[in-house]
Symmetry: C2
Subunit: 196 residues, 2 copies
Amino acid sequence: MDITPLVQHFAKFISLDEKEIELLGLLVRHHTIKNREFLLKEGEICLYDSFIVKGCVKIFQIDEQGKEHIISFAIENWWAVDMYSFIGQLPAVYSIQALEDTDLIQFTRKQYDLRYEIIPQLNKFTRKMLENAYVVHQSRILQNISLLVEEKYLKFLEKYPNLESRISQRHIASYLGVSPEFLSRMKKAKILKKKK
Amino acid sequence: MDITPLVQHFAKFISLDEKEIELLGLLVRHHTIKNREFLLKEGEICLYDSFIVKGCVKIFQIDEQGKEHIISFAIENWWAVDMYSFIGQLPAVYSIQALEDTDLIQFTRKQYDLRYEIIPQLNKFTRKMLENAYVVHQSRILQNISLLVEEKYLKFLEKYPNLESRISQRHIASYLGVSPEFLSRMKKAKILKKKK
DNA sequence: CGTCTATTTGAATGTACTCAAAAGCGGTGG
DNA sequence: CCACCGCTTTTGAGTACATTCAAATAGACG
């Protein structure tokens, strides 16, 4: 079972020996979902912590008025999980759906715990990764309360390189928290501004 | 050195034996800051990871126009830190300032690393705490992109019980990402609505 | 009591939304 | 190959939400 992309991902903070890599390989499963398929639906239990080898998913919620709100996208070398649901094995708050055909490496909840027992170093890895997520999330919260839509859009382009061309503008609008109509107008106004 | 509140905080996820508590006590320092004093100023290195025993601080940034944006408040049994600055010992992105006289238990960056070496269980604690922060942050991001100001205000009241009466409305407005004038009007409109 | 800051109120403005309709685009089947 | 379907994007008009600036009022503190 090829878990090279995952091992490379771990290598950001820790290095595993061959024995550990082998054990890890025994612990996970590969899985593929097609475009538009669901990895998780709100209300279900999130059974897997999924590492994305290739592809793209959206993590979102539908509100009472039926509007979709995208919390985040996850692309290559990111994780796709409803942390709350996965950790506590409780009904999911979010849904996760593929925006492209997507290859995953998955851990069940038990395998997730086991990986820390087998490879204690991974506690450190996950701590580092979560420390990083903490910083990124705080920064996003600041952006949400302080920036204009145009600036948030530029931050999105920075954060997800090349993703803009892979997904629809409607999805970007939902991620930014604005209507698709407004994003369309904003982009037009910005282009006109630049031409002057 | 009394670190009881900290030990109780750790007890949420792990239990320490007497030896470990003693070691921990040797590792930290107590510190007190007065209302309006700074724990950290943007651009400085964040020297401490601070656990709040008593009091309240705001974590914020001042934008180019001189406007203050409050990322979060930290009260009793919370941590006050610029994670980015503290972990990497890089210039801080945020400032942290007391809103009341505040008692802290502090770790330096070295002590922070050391605590994991001395008490490996703490890796698990911090992982759990950060998993939790991950969930809370995601939920706040969702609220920011999907809720009206009135709903965000209600979420604030839920998240920080009784804090409303301890801090100024101006600070709450800054946390919500709206002007103080608007928050004032909104509260008035809401009260009038209720009376009907 | 006076000073400083926070809150409220008013008026004008700007930002973003809704609903409806038109235009564009991509895939599928005949 | 192209005609049609479904979905996305754009455009328009009217409206709602939230801001700015200025001024008045209310509170807090030495």
